[in-house]
């Protein structure tokens, strides 16, 4: 296994589980399950036991490994020099399980659907661009930017609304963008996180070839997960293009006054998506957009920025739901934390977070008190 020479170096001191001020446990899997085995240190020790032949690959072992949301809180707070590799180590262990073919059924189904259909929804590729139907967003020809929407933004009923809001907003702001529609393929971020590195490389190669053939130089992603894959993983596979999350291009346009806004009296709290925040260090762009709206009061949650608590959807859990369910699920805990701020709206900048938190709001029966809206949806509602 990759990183096998590192796993014995975990002291299991537990800093990885916390926020930087120790005010709460911040590992979503540990926070839900509460056994040490579900913490990053626990995983390290179990992986070592498994590599040494002291433990077998069991349903429990799989649950422990695949419940990691790859949120990188452990990377942020581990005190050791190998901290950067923690999530990679868990992914490497998943790769071994995938290679053995002994993985949780929802993981197997997800990977199979991507392999067969190019998306996890078993929906035809021809339907990929349907979301853009009555928007000003056009197919990609030679526009300045490729607007990459991804599987969730193309097919999920809730996410499609966000795709439309973002696409429309970017066009209205005067940006030259185009989409691939049915030619778009899964970015593979979750495929990689779930340990199917071969399939990931295949998807990446397909996207890179497609972008190259079309002469794409700059990409705007709707989703932080795709942003992460394009920015951090594709270059190593030959994918050289400029990549932006949509908030990173929208923020300067708003600052420049290209998106005229009216006053909106809103109390909002912003939930940092792990793949935009901790994985890629972007905390300011979404906040600067919200702060540009006159009348919007931005209320921070107890855990924010590099200490933000994951919604529990990362690392493929959005699709596999290993980490979901129950009142201690990360998304429900996060919603309760948002409620404590006094905000009316949880602002998000990730499709998976949007869906996870919206479901949690319903489970908490807080629909009349809290609304989940993408940053772009808030801006759209505040357009002059």
């Amino acid at each position: 296994m990759k990183y096998a020479d590192i796993v014995h170096r975990c002291f299991r001191c537990g800093y990885c589980k916390f926020t930087s001020d120790y005010s709460d446990f911040n590992c979503p899997a540990y926070r839900k399950f509460r056994f040490e085995t579900y913490s990053p240190g626990g995983r390290m020790w179990l992986i070592r036991g498994w590599l040494n032949g002291e433990l077998k690959n069991s349903a429990r072992f799989q649950e422990i490994l695949f419940s990691c949301a790859t949120c990188a809180n452990c990377v942020e707070h581990c005190v050791f020099t190998f901290s950067e590799d923690l999530v990679n180590i868990f992914i490497a262990a998943r790769e071994e399980l995938v290679a053995e073919g002994l993985i949780p059924p929802p993981v197997r189904d997800y990977l199979k659907n991507i392999h067969v259909n190019g998306n996890p929804y078993k929906t035809p590729a021809a339907d990929r661009g349907k979301w853009a139907g009555d928007t000003p967003v056009e197919p990609y020809r030679d526009q300045d930017y490729l607007f990459y929407v991804g599987c969730v933004g193309s097919y999920d009923e809730r996410a499609v609304k966000i795709s439309r809001a973002v696409g429309t907003l970017l066009v209205k702001a005067g940006l030259s963008i185009g989409i691939l529609g049915e030619k778009e393929t899964c970015d593979g971020n979750e495929v990689r996180a779930l340990g199917e590195s071969g399939l990931f490389e295949h998807l990446a190669a397909q996207n890179i070839r497609s972008f190259r053939d079309l002469g794409v130089k700059k990409v705007i992603t709707l989703d932080p997960h795709a942003f992460n894959a394009f920015k951090n993983d594709y270059p190593g596979l030959g994918g050289e293009f400029e990549v932006y999350h949509y908030t990173q291009v929208l923020a300067p346009l708003i600052q420049a006054g290209k998106v005229p806004l009216k006053e909106c009296n809103i109390k909002a709290t912003y939930h940092d998506p792990c793949y935009l925040g901790r994985h890629n260090g972007e905390y300011l762009a979404p906040r600067s957009i919200l702060e540009a709206i006159s009348g919007l009061e931005l209320l921070e949650m107890e855990r924010s920025g590099e200490n933000a608590f994951c919604c529990g959807g990362g690392g493929g859990n959005f699709f596999t739901d290993i980490l979901g369910g129950g009142k201690e699920s990360p998304a429900r805990l996060r919603v309760r934390e948002a409620l404590d701020t006094g905000a009316d709206i949880i602002a998000v900048a990730c499709l998976q977070c949007a869906k996870m938190l919206e479901d949690a709001v319903k489970s908490e029966e807080l629909e009349d008190r809290l609304k989940v809206m993408d940053v772009a949806e808030i801006v759209s509602a505040c357009l002059l």
């Binding site: 002291f11 120790y22 709460d24 433990l55 069991s58 429990r60 190998f82």
Partner: protein, 462 residues
């Protein structure tokens, strides 16, 4: 699920009971060098009532019960030596009350040091507790149970001296308040003026009861905190230096470290002095008092204050000091263990010699760290050795070195801190028979079925 597992699930809920090999593997071990022994069950309760039910079940079925905080003692104290049920306490981590005027907090038995620190910083910025340098996830109750030390130990003694009451679940499942809280709703004293019953639990490693609530004394938190380091190569003079420093009553905490790396540290003893103040004037006054306390050693050229580089200050002022955990991986091996006998300060030179001797003999990386307890009343001298977890031969060498430390400490008049099972046996062998008899009587009375963390303090077997 077995019948016992089902009964446990009926108490804490199925999600919080495990008899899976994965939990058995993990909870069989701590980060130190003790051999593993697997529990039969691991449970994560949420309430005192659940713990009562678990203990009643265990007592009825004569199953061992081992309460566990973060499991960071390193000496195997929460390894279930005879199997049974490990109770992971960390789900019970609520801060129940902070009495600002009375300077104490009441917290649940699984509350971490880090959580209380964060809570106080946010809600009671003028209060603090004696935080140890164990990782932030270490629990307050477990630290007190092992007579841990912390940042205020030089001023107020062991952390177990800084408590204001306990709530304990006995081996029979009864809940027993200890201290003023046994009579009053206020948790201001752990004993006095009543008979102090905390001694029936503290230092017993869970062998007499499970702490479910704890009153923690809080102390003034000054706005500023700084650190100075006095360096000397005369370990024989360290006790005198400490005596002078404690005489000032100006120092918050005194740690002395000696380690071979980085190279500039080698062969020197670094008396690290933390002090606090609400104003610049107060801080500078204390700094001057501390400086002047050591004038004669500077004049005799036996030492001097080093300028603490700005880059080093955050590491030293960090609470808890994360750098302590980093020591485990200095050799890229992920392991360290230390024996930390409580011993008189005048034994510092002997301890400093011994750690060098053992490091050389067993070819180990080391760090010697002493923390002064009270006004020079005693010290904890940590003989810490780092090892590579993937190198069994090195681990064995480390075990042997630590065994020699145990022999040395006992011979030098020290008392083992958080003693391993082997050290407990050594201590019991040397103990006055009347004391031993009393311990035996207490244990038998309090845990007639021998279910509470068995294997620890089993004086009857000696």
């Amino acid at each position: 699920m077995t019948d016992i597992a089902q009964s446990l699930a009926g108490i804490v809920g199925e999600a919080y009971v495990s008899n899976h090999p994965e939990e058995a593997y993990f909870y069989a071990r701590d980060p130190g060098l003790m051999p593993p022994h697997a529990p039969d069950y691991v449970v994560v309760p949420e309430s005192v009532e659940e713990i009562q039910e678990i203990v009643r079940l265990a007592n009825r079925e004569k199953i061992p019960v081992v309460p566990m905080g973060a499991g960071l003692a390193l000496t195997g104290l929460v390894i279930p030596l005879k199997g049974g049920i490990v109770i992971d306490m960390k789900r019970m981590n609520r801060i129940l009350k902070v009495n600002e005027g009375g300077r104490h907090a009441i917290v649940e038995g699984g509350t971490s040091q880090g959580l209380l620190k964060a809570y106080l910083e946010k809600h009671h910025p003028r209060l603090r507790h004696s935080i140890p340098d164990s990782p932030a996830t270490a629990t307050i109750a477990a630290n007190v149970m092992i007579h841990g030390q912390g940042r205020l130990t030089q001023q107020y003694g062991f952390n177990s001296d800084m408590i204001s009451g306990l709530e304990v679940v006995l081996a029979t499942g009864e809940v027993c308040p200890i201290g003023s809280c046994a009579i009053s709703s206020d948790w201001f004293s752990k004993g006095a003026p009543l008979p102090d019953l905390t001694g029936l639990f503290l230092g017993w490693f869970g062998a007499t009861g499970i702490i479910t609530k704890i009153g923690v004394k809080l102390y003034p938190k000054k706005r500023m905190r700084d650190v100075e380091i006095f360096i000397t190569d005369r370990e024989d003079l360290v006790p005198e230096m400490v005596y002078e420093l404690t005489h000032t009553e100006m120092v918050e905490d005194i740690n002395i470290f000696a380690q071979p790396k980085p190279m500039i540290f080698k062969d020197n003893h670094h008396i690290t002095l933390f002090f606090t103040g609400d104003t610049d004037e107060e801080l500078e006054f204390k700094r001057k008092m501390i400086w002047h306390a050591l004038d004669r050693f500077i004049k005799s050229k036996d030492g001097g204050f080093m300028g603490v580089p700005p880059v080093m200050k955050p590491t030293l002022l960090d609470m808890p000091q994360r750098s302590v955990s980093r020591f485990a991986d200095v050799k890229k091996g992920g392991g360290f263990e230390y024996s930390g006998p409580i011993i008189m300060v005048d034994k510092y030179p002997a301890c400093a010699h011994k750690i060098l001797e053992l490091a050389e003999k067993y070819d180990l990386g080391y760090s010697g760290m002493a923390r002064i307890i009270g006004r020079s009343h005693a010290m904890m001298f940590g003989f810490a050795f780092t090892f590579n977890r993937a190198d069994p031969e090195m681990m064995e060498r480390t075990r042997q070195a630590l065994h020699e430390v145990s022999l040395f400490a006992l011979e030098a008049g020290g008392v083992f801190w958080k003693a391993t099972v082997d050290e407990q046996k050594m201590a019991v062998e040397k103990m006055d028979p009347a004391t031993l008899g009393l311990m035996n009587m207490i244990r038998i009375q309090m845990d007639p079925n021998g279910i509470m963390n068995p294997g620890n303090w089993e004086v009857t077997e000696v």
